[in-house]
């Protein structure tokens, strides 16, 4: 098997092919010297999969009886060492009673599988006092930071300020759901009426990241159905915004594009429970082994270490 | 003449415009081409070289003034124009209406002898009057039907006696075509009874000896669709006029219907009508056929000798 071919970025002969075709909408002519093997050598995909340590930084558990065992089974299948889980708050208005109940589910799971699951809590800044108390309760129960914060309040709303300040003190990664105006929710903010109005959008992340340059922000799921080109271009100048690559869309070239615009240090591997796409889109990107390892594991773990929560 | 050249002889004069350096940091893989630019070409000489009959023209007292027609014709070397004063869409097209219109066409022919070939407007819903009008107009020197409009579909039985008379006279039958199928459905503002490409096929197959002219594929129809539908009906000419001089339209039509069935026309869009023929990938002989010979042959059958 030709391993080198797979892992080397920009294998010779590729560069020329990539540029020319889109101009005409037709294919570029055959490169002068193309491979003339009778058949391609076989490729050991599972060996490649298992080569990398992985933390899935965006996953969820459910209220169903098979959770989290089903999620863990996917993890084992694909060599995912740890998953950062949360039970996101997909209810309105999201009262303290509700978020406590949601977090209890997560606490139960991480207690049961302490080696495989990392817990993320949810809260609702409309209830400031209760949210701050919940941070304490969950941290004491061993959670590593917020899980996917949801659509009750925009991430740059002043209601979030005390919460974010607390999370900064605790050196936690601030992870929030978001949707892009060019995509989910309708084109160019012409919201189609099926979305919660306080859902965070990329511009809200930029706003809050500028206000708190010391905050570490995790923009959720660039593969979830928003316009990832728009998102990456917008975040280019804001080094404290990281993107997780989760979502059910495994668009070809998404990872390459994100690395080009954000650099290899600002991407996290994640599935949002689309495990195959999560692993597949990173392995198929034109990245070196080292770059893949950073995205699969190191980038996130290095940030965890800052808060003394590293996993190795 | 070289297919790929606008004109055979080009004059090269002086140095070209040097734009090098516009692109900062441009790295070149190749040395400069021998092309120096600034080749002033005798465009008008080439344009005027070809004899032309505009197979789709109009004349009336308002929108399509005969003098404007002739001014453009002189400018672009169009020898003759096949004019009509067509029955307007959404009007009933009663006999006194089309008679008045045809009389104006006859007057234009008289005012400018040798320049206009008048074609007859009629409405087959008025059978007797239409057949009589053919005779009256023929006596006054007109030839062929045109531009027939949307009062009756071309394959409607009402047209049969009219078409049969035209077969006897070897007359060309030119009919309007719709803005159709572009957005899957027919354009909404199209009048009822508009003739579709499919209707032309059906009537052309019923009367293989009749001479039809499908109007203006550059006039707003999906010309790829039209050419594909009309591919196998040899007695339908495809006339290329219209305000859309889409690049590639004539080349596409050549592939589907061929050089013997394409005819030049302007429909009052003179620049586009002439320009697109010179822009297409045609030989000298093919240009001659499209500009002149194909339609001249048909006219000759009807007794109009333009040579």
């Amino acid at each position: 098997m030709n391993r080198r071919n797979f892992v080397t970025r920009g294998a010779a002969g590729m560069a020329g092919i990539l540029m020319s075709s889109p101009l005409t909408g037709r294919s570029a002519p055959l490169p002068a010297k193309a491979t003339t093997l009778p058949g391609p050598p076989s490729f050991d995909l599972m060996k490649e999969v298992m080569k990398y340590r992985k933390i899935d930084v965006h996953a969820h558990i459910y209220w169903t009886d098979d959770s989290p065992e089903t999620q863990l089974d996917y993890g084992r299948r694909l060599g995912i060492e740890k998953q950062v889980i949360s039970r996101y708050l997909d209810v309105m208005p999201g009262t303290p009673e509700q978020f406590r109940k949601f977090n209890d589910l997560t606490i139960k799971a991480i207690k049961k599988y302490p080696d495989q699951l990392l817990g993320g809590f949810v809260l609702n800044p409309v209830y400031q006092k209760e949210s701050l108390e919940e941070i304490k309760r969950c941290t004491d129960a061993g959670m590593i930071g917020p899980g996917e914060l949801y659509y009750q309040v925009k991430i740059n709303d002043p209601k979030y300020f005390p919460i974010i300040e607390k999370l900064i003190d605790l050196k936690m990664i601030i992870h929030s759901h978001a949707e892009c105006q060019l995509g989910v929710g309708g084109y160019r903010m012409k919201y189609n009426g099926y979305k919660q109005p306080n859902t965070s959008i990329p511009e809200d992340f930029v706003d809050i990241a500028r206000r708190y340059p010391e905050g570490i922000f995790q923009y959720a799921h660039i593969g979830m159905g928003g316009d990832w080109e728009y998102e990456c271009k917008l975040f280019r100048e804001y080094p404290n915004i990281y993107v997780d690559t989760s979502g059910s869309n495994n668009a070809e070239n998404m990872i390459d594009f994100a690395v080009e615009h954000l650099g290899e240090d600002r991407l996290f591997f994640a599935s949002d429970n689309s495990y195959y796409q999560g692993v597949g889109r990173i392995l198929s990107a034109n990245l070196t082994d080292r770059q893949k390892q950073k995205i699969f594991f190191d980038n996130y773990n290095n940030l965890l270490k800052k808060g003394g929560r590293g996993v190795d | 003449m070289n297919r790929r050249k606008f004109v055979t002889h080009t004059v090269t004069s002086g140095a070209g415009l040097m734009l090098s350096g516009i692109l900062a940091g441009a790295a070149h893989k190749q040395e400069p081409d021998i092309y120096t630019g600034n080749q002033k070409q005798p465009f008008m000489q080439e344009v005027l070289k070809y004899r032309k009959i505009d197979a789709h023209a109009h004349a009336d007292e308002n929108q399509y003034k005969p003098e404007v027609n002739l001014d453009f014709a002189d400018r672009l070397g169009i020898e003759k124009l096949m004019i009509s004063n067509f029955i307007r869409p959404f009007s009933e097209g009663r006999p006194d209406d089309f008679r008045t219109r045809n009389s104006f066409t006859i007057k234009c022919m008289k005012d400018h002898p040798g320049r206009f070939i008048g074609t007859v407007a009629l409405n087959p819903a008025f059978r007797k009057e239409s057949l009589e009008e053919i005779d009256r107009c023929r006596d006054a020197g007109m030839t062929g039907l045109g531009e027939l409009y949307n009062q009756v579909k071309i394959d409607d039985p009402l047209y049969y006696p009219i078409i049969e008379k035209c077969i006897d006279l070897n007359w060309n039958i030119m009919m309007h075509s719709p803005v159709g199928h572009s957005r899957v459905k027919l354009y909404q503002s199209e009048p009822k009874n508009i003739s579709l490409p499919e209707d032309f096929v059906s009537i052309a197959k019923r009367y293989p000896e009749a001479l039809f002219q499908f109007a203006h594929i550059g006039g707003g129809i999906d010309w790829e669709y039209a050419c594909k539908v009309l591919k196998d009906v040899p007695n339908v000419f495809i006339e290329v006029s219209g305000s859309n001089n889409a690049a590639g339209m004539i080349d596409f039509a050549m592939k589907y219907v061929g050089e013997d069935r394409l005819v030049f026309g302007c429909d009052y869009s003179f620049y586009q009508g002439v320009g697109q023929v010179f822009s297409a990938n045609l030989t000298d002989a093919q240009r001659k056929k499209i500009f002149f010979e194909n339609i001249a042959k048909r006219l000759k059958k009807a007794g109009i000798h333009v040579n």
């Binding site: 092919i17 037709r26 159905g225 070809e252 195959y276 | -």
Partner: protein, 268 residues
Amino acid sequence: MLIDINAYVGHWPFMQLKYNNCAALVERMNKYGVETSVISNLNGIFYKNTQSANRELYDELKALGTHRKRFIPFAVINPTYAGWQYDLEECVKKFGMKGVRVYPKYHDYEITDPALVELVKRTRDMNLPVAFNYKMVDSRQRSWMDIDYVAYTPKPEWTLKNIFPIIKAVPDAKYMILNVTNSMQLDAADAALFKKAQVLMDTSGRTINDLDSLLKTQGTERFAFGTHAPILDYLTGMLRIESLRPAEADARVKELLRSGNAKQFLGL
């Protein structure tokens, strides 16, 4: 051996694609051990006259020399556009195309349109498969100029229910159902009919996450490796097969998924 039953070349208007020509795709195939790819031209989805796209693909393959045999070209046909019968003949007889791809949503006709029924019957009589897909791209991040079947709205993306009527109308044709990204639910009677039909589904779609169960409920002969490349990444469709455990799929079944089912279905 791997056969990819769902790949493309050509242009996607709303986004720059990489690896979207045959030469680049060959490199991709060599890198990941894929022997053969079924391809069609994306341009056929948008050109009103789809035959321009089929001709482009034919010309490109002709220019490809020995690599040509690495590809199995499919034609894009719009049965509501003039001359399609002639186009189909030309694609099959002159261009050597081995199947047909149709795009009812992009070409704006119903799944039960008589023209489509006629097309499917013709392909059946030529023993060629006709391929449908759930969608080309995720509607949530589409361009506003793209079609407006949008998830979570009153006009949602397709599910198997939207494709099924044509299978019901012509039950003895060969169908490929690609990029399975939404529900595969059918009511009981339809599900039974669907199970009897000759259907091959590819592994590129996000609904194929529990392939183990699908093999049990649908049967091992109904799935085959597909990438939906270059729109989706090259490896996820493969990963769904390769990561099956021996208890879920033995070596024989894996080989069926990698290439056996495709060979059988396409008559290779």
